[in-house]
Structures are given as structure tokens and as C-alpha cells.
């Protein structure tokens, strides 16, 4: 019996080896790789299902039309998950909030920021039980938020603004659907979270204590930045410009056709139409030419506020022991590369 098994194994191995041999030989014999092609065979875009103009680019196939190759859209639960996919080299384009971006840059992820995906307003808020009157009253309470996200960042900053340390409350790491379940079961007293869970919590008695629009005015802006893998951008710069043209088109559509945009997004994300419209109001889409001003990305050589905000985010995360170190300012400034967007907006 044993010998039989051994023989079978050996046969299996030799057949695998026989099949692999040509592949291995090809690796050894071929030169380091073909010369840089004009465009890739296909592109992979990672996204988080937030209400923003990227969903329009996806639904209207604007991206496919612009880049001229098939596009695979890969959904992620949060920017943190998307970072992990970037680390594993599984996507070409993506989008992350400023905290995951600060984490990714500090930890050396090989990507760069090329456009503003959205700016977060009241679409992310701190919602609490009605008997909790102020931020200070959160002392000793149980608060949930997805760790490593823009909401987590705003929560810690909001608590700090009210003179509370993270240790003064019980802060739990949960994904939005789990947050809603825990809220219904009364396991948690408050949560900093985004729509649509935010709206559901309000509908079942939750009261807004703070929102990301107000936090932005207090010096803690949160936004999502579109990223591209550095290798990809170096190899296929024209594809990156084409990709951005589609994104800019979608942002214009958002502004010029709000009704149609809402209908499209609501259908794509399986969201209620009124819910979608409310979320659209809480999210700011920045027209591409405006992104190239000092308030956002700036222009090549003249960095904008985004680079400054990234440094601030990294320092804040370090003070909360969420990052072991903060790199030199130049590293964060170097992450933002507005040159592709500049080419995309100039006709």
C-alpha cells in the first residue's frame, strides 16, 4: 500500500515537473522582459463602496472607454484592507482616506496620490444615544469605529478636542455592519461611522455629536485620495492620464447631472435613492482643475494642503501609538504627484 502511494506521488511529481519545466526555462532564457508597452493588457482598480463620482465612472464604463482596455473593479471593506492589497501588489489603481494613506506612505507602500477622490463632510459623523449630551459625556462609554479609517482618526481627534484620551472611553474596532448590529442590541453607546449605517443609527434614535465637515474646519480634514502603483505609473503614464480623464468626466457628471448621478449611484450600490442623495450632500466632489490649486494637490513643484495634511495625520497617528515613526516631510510631499492630473485637464 505504502509503496503504491509513494509511486503515485512520484508519478505526480514528475508530471508536474514536466509541465513546469518549459515555464521555468522561459524565465531563465528570456531577457528581463519585453520593452515597456504603450498600454497594459488590462487594469485592476480597487475601490471602497462610498458614494462618490468613481461609482459613476464605473457604472457608465467611462474608465474602459478612456483607457481602451478591460477594467476589473475590486471592492474593499475599508482603506486598511485596500492597503493590504497594495502591499501584495494585487491592484493598479485604488483610493484610500488620509489615515490609511499616511500609514501606507510611512510603511513604504509603493504608491502615489494622483487625484482627490472625494472630501468628507457630514457623510461621516459621531452618533450617540440621545441621553449623551456632549463629547465630554462620552467618558467611560463604549464607542465603536472601524480602526485605521478616517472615522477612527476623527473620533480620536474629536475626543482629544474635548479633553479626553482614547483610554477614557472604551473604543472598539468594528466594521460598519457590525456597528449597526451592536447599536440595535445596545452593546455600544456611540459610533463614529459613515453612511448608510450612520443614517440607520439616526433613524433608530441616534443623535449627531460631531461630523467630519466640522472637524475639517477645526483642522482635521479627511478625504480620499486616488492612488496608482508607482511601477505602473512609470511604465504606462498615458494610461494613468486616460484613467484620470474618466474620473474628471465623472466628477463633472456629478455636478451637472445630480439627479441622474443619484439614480446611477443608487442602482450601482443598491442604496435607497433618498439615502443616496443625502450621502451625496455630505460628500464633496472637487472639480479636477480645482484639485490643482494650493487648497488640494497643488501643482508639480508647488505642493498644496494635502501634503501638509498627510504629515499632520502621520504625526497624529504617531502620537496615538498607531505609527512607530514619522518620515521626513519630503516623503509625504513626494507621495502627491499632480503631474498626471495636470496632463489630464489640459486639452
Amino acid at each position: 500500500m505504502m509503496r503504491h502511494i509513494q509511486a503515485t506521488c512520484r508519478a505526480a511529481w514528475s508530471s508536474i515537473a514536466a509541465r513546469l519545466m518549459p515555464v521555468l526555462l522561459a524565465f531563465v532564457l528570456l531577457p528581463a522582459g519585453p520593452a515597456a508597452a504603450a498600454s497594459p493588457a488590462s487594469i485592476r482598480v480597487g475601490y471602497v463602496d462610498l458614494v462618490n463620482a468613481q461609482i459613476i465612472a464605473m457604472a457608465l464604463h467611462l474608465t474602459e472607454k478612456a483607457v481602451g482596455v478591460p477594467v476589473t473593479w475590486i471592492k474593499f471593506g475599508s482603506g486598511g484592507d485596500l492597503n493590504r492589497a497594495v502591499a501584495a501588489g494585487q491592484i493598479d489603481f485604488g483610493g484610500v482616506g488620509n489615515p490609511p494613506a499616511a500609514i501606507g506612505i510611512t510603511r513604504g507602500l509603493p504608491y502615489e496620490g494622483i487625484f482627490v477622490l472625494d472630501e468628507l463632510g457630514p457623510v461621516e459623523s459621531l452618533v450617540a444615544r440621545p441621553d449623551i449630551a456632549s463629547l465630554k459625556a462620552l467618558k467611560g462609554k463604549t464607542i465603536a469605529t472601524p480602526f485605521g479609517s478616517t472615522s477612527h482618526y476623527e473620533l480620536i481627534a474629536a475626543l482629544a478636542g474635548a479633553g479626553l484620551n482614547p483610554a477614557d472611553a472604551k473604543i472598539l474596532d468594528m466594521d460598519p455592519p457590525d456597528i449597526f448590529a451592536a447599536w440595535i442590541r445596545k452593546d455600544i453607546d456611540a459610533a463614529y461611522v459613515w453612511q448608510p449605517v450612520l443614517g440607520k443609527m439616526q433613524a433608530s434614535g441616534g443623535k449627531i455629536l460631531m461630523d467630519s465637515g466640522t472637524m475639517a474646519k477645526r483642522g482635521y480634514p479627511t478625504w480620499d485620495v486616488g492612488v496608482v502603483m508607482k511601477d505602473f505609473a512609470a511604465k504606462y503614464p498615458a494610461t494613468v492620464v486616460a484613467y484620470l480623464k474618466a474620473e474628471c468626466q465623472a466628477i463633472d457628471y456629478w455636478h451637472h447631472e445630480p439627479k441622474k448621478a443619484a439614480a446611477l449611484i443608487s442602482k450601482s450600490l443598491n442604496l435607497d435613492l433618498t439615502e443616496t442623495e443625502r450621502e451625496m450632500q455630505g460628500t464633496y466632489m472637487i472639480p479636477c482643475h480645482e484639485q490643482l490649486t494650493a487648497n488640494y494637490l497643488g501643482t508639480p513643484g508647488h505642493g498644496g494642503k494635502f501634503a501638509i495634511a498627510l504629515v499632520a495625520t502621520a504625526k497624529f497617528l504617531q502620537s496615538q501609538k498607531r505609527l512607530p515613526e514619522v518620515k521626513d516631510d519630503a516623503v509625504y510631499e513626494g507621495f502627491i504627484d499632480p503631474s498626471f492630473l495636470q496632463k489630464a485637464v489640459t486639452p
Binding site: G80, N83, R84, A87, I103, G104, R107, G108, L109, A144, F147, G148, A167, K170, I171, L172, D173, M174, D178, A181, A182, R185, D187, I188, K321, R322, L323, P324
Partner: protein, 300 residues
Amino acid sequence: MTQFATIRDSIMRGAGKTIGRDAGNRPARAAGRAATQGAASRITLPRGSLERLLTAATIAALFCAWFLLTRLELVNPLFLPPPAAVWQAFITTSTEGYQGSLLYQHVLASVERVLAGWLLACVVGIPLGFLMGTSTRIKAVFDPIIEFYRPLPPLGLYTLIVLWLGIGEESKITLLFLAALPPITISATEAVKSIDRRYITAVQSLGADRRQLLRHVIVPACLPGICTGMRISLGFTYSVLVAAEIVAATRGIGWMVWDAAKFLLSDVVIMGLIVLGLTGLALDLVLRRLERALTPWRFI
């Protein structure tokens, strides 16, 4: 009285038909001993020392590979940080803590959860297995339940448990309990079913009552199978630990690994995994000792 004890001793010596999973091992070991005695001149290494050498060499080789890969900068430190960074993470977490708790507190929180779930499973599973082994009707009731949920992925099960029991310790311990229950119940059932009928008839013919039957025959005959089941079960429980600590934990070694991965702190992740593995080994070692103490006749 003493006759029963004699039969119990004969079970323990493995006279006649041997018992439980170890059955095949015993004659082989005896034969091995005989062979060693017969051919003393041919012995080169004491038994097991080559194996130990191989184990040590494997660990050393893995460590050297890790050291060289990172030293020669062949891999991105984000994926595989050098041993020194992992050691540093160990020191920092032990002295300053990770997110508010020291390393030993994370380990303790996890071990407490695992032991709570596992002990609960032992308390429920062993009697349940006994009953299922003695009565086909009881088996018919519980078997479908256990067999159905056993292969379900723990994370899938967990989402439902969180909905039902909330985010506190109850849901975490319940998940661990559910992971621990099937192996222990199944092995208890099998242990009871495989008792040699001749022992039972023998003590009964000598006039033993149910209590004596249980004490002198059934329990000693089942112990080896149950001990093995308990060890396997603890392994299962341990492997579900990270899943159990993903939702709303603030402490625990599984949670630490999960949280550190979110912030791309791979040195903490690898350190946590090593600690997780060593803790698991330590728990298994304790159980092996216990097994030796409870069923010494299997280790002669």
C-alpha cells in the same frame, strides 16, 4: 472487589485485545523493544536523537533563511521584517505594551478565553459523547446538529453569534466552545463504543453493579481516547482564536495580530504569531503531561 481491580489492571496493561486509538502502536513498540535488546551491537544512536537533531536543524535553517533574506535585503521589510525588528517589537510590547495592554496581558486574555471555551466543551462534550456512545437514539438526536455545524467556517458562524449574543466575552467564548465541542464529543463517543464487550461481561458475571462497572472498566478504558480528543479539541479551539477576537476585542493576542495588520506593523504581526504558536505549544505540553498522569499505562 479485587477481581474487578484485576480486570482494570488487565485493561491498563493492554492484555488481550488492546483499547482505543493506540491499539496498533502497542505490539509494534513491544516488537521494537525486543529488536533493540536482540541486536544491541548494531545500535548507533539512542532512539529519537536523530529526529531531535532534524527538528533542531529545521528550526535553525528557517531562522538562518529569515536572517539572510532580510540581511541581504532580498525582501521588502514590510513583508518580512528582520529578526532584530521582531525582537524589538517583543521587547516594546512586553515593557510598554500594545494599545494599552502589556504582552502578557494580551496572552492571558486569550488563554483565559480559550480555556473557558474548551473547559466548557469538556464539561458538556464528554458526558454527551458518553451518552451518544451508549445509546444510538441519543446519538441520532445530537449527531446531525454537531455534524452540520462542524465544517462551517468559524467567521461565518461568528457573525450570527455576534447578532445573538452581542460583542462581549459571551460571543467569543461561545465561538471557541463551538469549535471545541465536536472533536471532544466524537472522540468520547468512539471511546465508549470501542470498549471490549468481554471486559464488561466479565465484571458483570462477577457481580459488579453499574457504579463498579463504570469505575473499573468504562472510565479507564475510555480515558486514552478522551485524552486524545481533549488534545485535538484544544488545538481546534486555539486555531479559532484570531477569528473570535476580530470583532470588538480590545485585548488578546489574536486581536493584537489583527489590529497590527491593519496598521501594516508586520514586526508586531510576526512577533504575535510566534507568541501565539509558542503559547499553543505550551498548552499542548501541559495537556500531554496531564495525559501521562491520567493514563500512565500508555506510556510504559
